[in-house]
């Protein structure tokens, strides 16, 4: 059997969901008999090629996040939102009731210790979006795994269900929003 090709990325996330994926521990060996990684922080491949499964951690907070998310959607047959940030916007979205200009001014200009500060405007920095969005507001998402982060057992159950061709189902104790 050909291995399934899997790409992963962290957008406006903290890599906690990737860490939780690694927490499946020795089951990683079993997983690697079934899948191989394309673009991922684990491979350092820079762009996503044609894949069976794309796993997105983190929400959308800037223009680069949008570009990467669209690259994944265009290349992955199945797209999974993993973790509270990808599913709901999460922690970064807690700025959504504030004005972005006010946030930047306070952090870079008016806070104590920011004398002569300036708002970063290097062209290499992706432009922040006005609001932070969960990824389903930007592209079609096939599956959601909530949790901050989802437990290793939840990720394992979900992926093994999916790879085996079953409808993924977490059930009590594995489905968590916190």
């Amino acid at each position: 059997m050909n291995k399934l090709r899997v790409a992963t990325t962290s957008l406006a996330g903290c890599f906690g969901c990737h860490t939780s994926l690694l927490d499946i521990d020795e089951r990683l060996f079993e997983l690697l008999k079934l899948i191989e990684f394309d673009r991922s922080p684990l491979t350092d491949i820079k762009h996503c090629g044609p894949c069976d499964i794309g796993i997105i951690e983190g929400g959308i907070c800037n223009a680069e996040n949008v570009a990467v998310l669209r690259e994944f959607r265009n290349n992955c047959k199945v797209l999974i939102a993993i973790g509270s940030c990808a599913v709901t916007g999460g922690l970064p979205a807690q700025r959504n009731h504030l004005d972005l200009g006010d946030c930047l001014s306070e952090v870079y200009l008016t806070e104590p210790g920011t004398m002569h500060g300036l708002i970063p405007n290097d062209p290499e920095l992706p432009l922040p979006l006005d609001k932070v969005h969960p990824i389903h507001e930007v592209v079609k998402v096939d599956y959601f795994i909530p949790g901050c982060p989802p437990s290793a057992d939840a990720i394992w159950k979900f992926l093994t269900d999916l790879i085996a061709g079953r409808t993924p189902s977490l059930g009590h104790g594995l489905i968590k929003y916190d």
């Binding site: 999460g90 609001k131 959601f144 795994i145 909530p146 929003y177």
Partner: protein, 250 residues
């Protein structure tokens, strides 16, 4: 022998005056619900307890039990409706579970788990709702309020104070407190009030005890809400009197 109606094909006995919900719970059959509480008058606003009776949707917490009813509750169609209602509640407020003290004890969250809600689905509104931290011992976080009116009912019917009320209409509907300043600190609320204990979400929190029970050992960590609702079930509605200010209005 009492009369019966059918719930998902099973005979449910009932006493005259019982609702479909009361009879079902008393007979050990769970119907998902959110604003219904066995100790208070049914409110019928959250619609999570919707069932199909003779092809029509009805809230089981307010529908009177009648002999011969054919009630459908645990069906794909009805559960999909309940899932959508829970999703809309999550999208409408700011329900950020990872930072909420109520996580694990929250009825909204537990319903989401039990119904298999994996995403809010809709566009999140991210409303701007400042908290009321004016009271030294009680935090009022409007971000998490789902307008179930349980605190409103408890404060009037049990505490006899009417500290809480809902104001506004439609999407602008919101919880208010009974003080000229609009601040909880200026009301008659006390730590022993039933209104505080009955909040199903993290809108009303007692300060400085949020993490006395660690995450992972909380109520709905132990078993799903469907299993626990039955344990709480057959209690008669409280026969208490409305508070004096309500009677004055009447």
């Amino acid at each position: 022998m009492s009369e019966t109606f059918l719930l998902d094909g099973e005979d449910i006995p009932f006493e005259p005056g019982q609702t479909v919900m009361q009879a079902a719970l008393a007979a050990g059959h769970y119907i998902p619900h959110l604003c219904y509480h066995p100790e208070f008058k049914p409110h019928g606003s959250c619609k999570v307890c919707t069932v199909k009776i003779a092809g029509r949707y009805a809230t089981s917490c307010t529908a009177p039990a009648q002999a011969g009813l054919d009630v459908a509750s645990d069906t794909d169609e009805v559960n999909e409706l309940r899932r959508t209602l829970v999703q809309m509640l999550f999208a409408e407020g700011n329900h950020f579970c990872p930072s909420c003290e109520k996580s694990g004890n929250c009825v909204l969250q537990a319903l989401g788990y039990d119904l298999g809600v994996m995403t809010a689905g809709f566009r999140h509104l991210f409303p701007d709702r400042p908290v009321d931290a004016s009271h030294p011992d009680i935090l009022l976080d409007f971000n998490r309020c789902i307008l179930c009116e349980l605190c409103v009912r408890a404060s009037c019917e049990v505490d006899g104070k009417c500290v809480f009320a809902l104001a506004g209409r439609g999407i602008t509907k919101h919880l208010i407190v009974n003080a000229e300043s609009g601040r909880l600190a200026d009301t008659e609320v006390e730590l022993t009030d039933k209104a505080l204990a009955v909040c199903p979400v993290g809108a009303i929190l007692i300060k400085r005890q949020g993490f006395a029970v660690p995450i992972g050992e909380r109520r709905y960590d132990l078993s799903p809400i469907s299993a626990q609702a039955l344990a709480d079930a057959p209690r008669p509605p409280s026969g208490s009197q409305p508070c004096p200010s309500c009677e004055d209005e009447a």
